[in-house]
Symmetry: C2
Subunit: 374 residues, 2 copies
């Protein structure tokens, strides 16, 4: 029996931990490191799926919690799965719903069995368990499914984090047992352990023992200082096997992408590019730009002179400012397209840099322009 | 000196007043009768311009009043004109700003000179005159520019309507005098006269005497009963020359398109298809459909089985219902695309029917399906 998702390590950067790889899934291959646009409610916001593919995205992430509540994973199963429902034929990764249950639900109740919560839509009562999360993700039919875990808050005391990670391991064992469809979907485990090195090591050992097709690092970027996060990350990577893809969950600002790649991470996702787009902020080679700025009123040059995206090749800053200020939907469409293109193409350049053993140089170039400008 | 915009009458339907024609403009030709999507603020809402072209639209309408106030017509002039600013290389028609000044502005003051009004954006004071409207539309660089007129309200007494239409004629004379750029833009006159046949005749005679490249019928669909509108329309058309295009302003529900074409009208515009799209209503061969309807929850068939648009070939009713209920931007994108396609393609079928002398039969077929269903 072959795993649905496999990883091939292609090349290691000479002077950093960065690595080039390839993930193969039932819906196609993914060159890594990879940035995954987020399509929470079965749509990457303000984008047609073909446009997401055109800008170079090879995989998107979608959210189990949201789709379970609306339209219901049974509806998506009956539609023929999430790929068909949302018109996206490339790979999809779904999270387990755990993170949203913990972060969005007002009322929740954690037991060994799972987590009871109330819907953010209508207050109705629900229960997520490892088995339920697997069943829902099977309905969705995503290529990569994530284990149901608890992402401990920050700060949290050692005792809480230890209990939480050990329960997360027990939940992972139940996920693995419940997950039947291994030739169509692959289950990734999630390392927890908060900011405690020995607990990270314990969590890693426990999940790696289960020999899964991939592993994620969870519980980071939850409010801790950046230095602490990088310190924890430095150690975490070493606890995971070289032969499997490593996914840093929910992280996607340009600096975190570079820092993550440098340490050997392969997969990243973040709502940032589309969310800030809707607020009028663009990511450019020279840093973030607020399109509302009055100085753009008569600026007939492209948003980013170095960018080849649809937005930058067809519209001026003056136009983008006008449609943003006029609350026109095309504003979100154009800025989302640009921001996703920027991150996806930055990741493509990162991959090229790794292939040429010059990741560190590329990082320095990028930072010089991106942060030098701010 | 050649007019920028010319009209050629290609064929008259054997049994109705419907006619096939072609309008030539500096930005390309337009097959008539034509439905013009509206791009009020330099964007057809929720659509990329290429998508508007792909669905078959040959001309769009944009609004002088809105663009004058934001971003300012000087900005658009500096950008190289509206076509370049908004990335639309086909013909554009702009209205004069008159209709919005009368309908949107809270405070307005009509004199022989023009209309003073306050901006709906910031309350600032402005004055539109025939000369000002021409100057603003010259900044925009649209192919067809409309005369600055007063659209009298309904109901209005004879005396008011007569004074109003006579002033509209005097304003038209001033527009013609102020309009210099005749080889790049063509000025269309607007017939007024309310519901009074003799005043319609008077208005028509006065504006036709000015020998303009096209004429519009204004002051209809302003709240009067449909029967009255059609009665007035029946007579109005006969007062206009066969050799010039005839534009019925602000009218675009399917029935009005058919009724207008049947009486010899050539051009139509309406915000309806994109506005109702944003509210979750789709126009289909079998009538209007509210996508919110619970019966679509598990309906995995296309919105309109007879439709070949992007939306109908890629998404199910269940998906469209889901994204509408989730307030996702793609809902407006997909339904706007469908509704515009529906009206533009219905107009294409109308043109084919006229060419084959079977407009009346096509109208009957369309009504049977569209209204039979309601």
């Amino acid at each position: 029996m072959t795993d649905a998702v496999t990883y091939e390590l292609l090349h290691k950067d000479r002077s950093t931990g960065a690595r080039r790889g390839r993930i193969t899934t039932p819906h196609g291959t993914i060159e890594t490191p990879v940035f995954m646009p987020v399509g929470t409610q079965a749509t990457v916001k303000a984008m047609r799926p073909e446009q997401v593919a055109e800008l170079g995205a090879e995989i998107i992430l979608s959210n189990t919690y949201h789709l379970y509540l609306r339209p219901g994973s049974d509806v998506i199963r009956e539609a023929g799965g999430l790929h068909k429902f949302m018109n996206w034929n490339r790979p999809i990764l779904t999270d387990s719903g755990g993170f949203q249950v913990f972060s969005l639900a007002d009322l929740r109740d954690i037991t060994e069995e799972g987590v009871g919560f109330r819907s953010y839509l209508d207050g109705s009562k629900h229960m997520f368990t490892p088995e339920k999360s697997m069943a829902v993700q099977e309905d969705l039919g995503s290529d990569i499914i994530m284990a149901f875990d608890e992402c401990a808050p920050y700060p949290a005391d050692r005792e809480y984090v230890k209990n939480s990670l050990e329960r997360t391991t027990r939940w992972l064992e139940r996920c693995k047992k419940a997950h039947k469809n291994v030739e169509k979907q692959s289950l990734f485990g999630i390392m927890q352990g908060g900011m405690y090195d020995d607990l990270r090591k314990q969590s890693a050992r426990e999940i790696v023992d289960l020999d899964l097709p991939g592993y994620a690092i969870g519980g980071l970027s939850v409010g801790e200082p950046k230095e602490l996060m990088l310190e924890v990350l430095d150690k975490c990577v070493g606890y995971l096997p070289d032969s499997k893809p490593r996914y840093l969950m929910g992280v996607g600002t340009p600096d975190y992408l570079f820092e993550g790649v440098e340490r050997g991470l392969d997969m990243f996702d973040c709502v940032l590019p589309t969310r800030i787009a809707r607020n009028g902020t663009a990511l450019t080679a020279h840093g973030a730009v607020n399109i509302k700025n009055a100085k753009f009123e008569r600026d007939f040059t492209p948003l980013d002179h170095e960018c080849g995206c649809y937005t930058c090749t067809h519209y001026s800053r003056a136009y983008l400012r006008h449609v943003f200020k006029s609350n026109e939907i095309i504003s979100s469409m154009l800025l989302s397209n640009h921001n996703l293109y920027f991150l996806v193409q930055t990741m493509r350049k990162i991959r090229e840099a790794i292939e040429n053993d010059r990741f560190a140089e590329y990082k320095e170039e990028f930072y010089g322009k991106y942060y030098g400008h701010l």
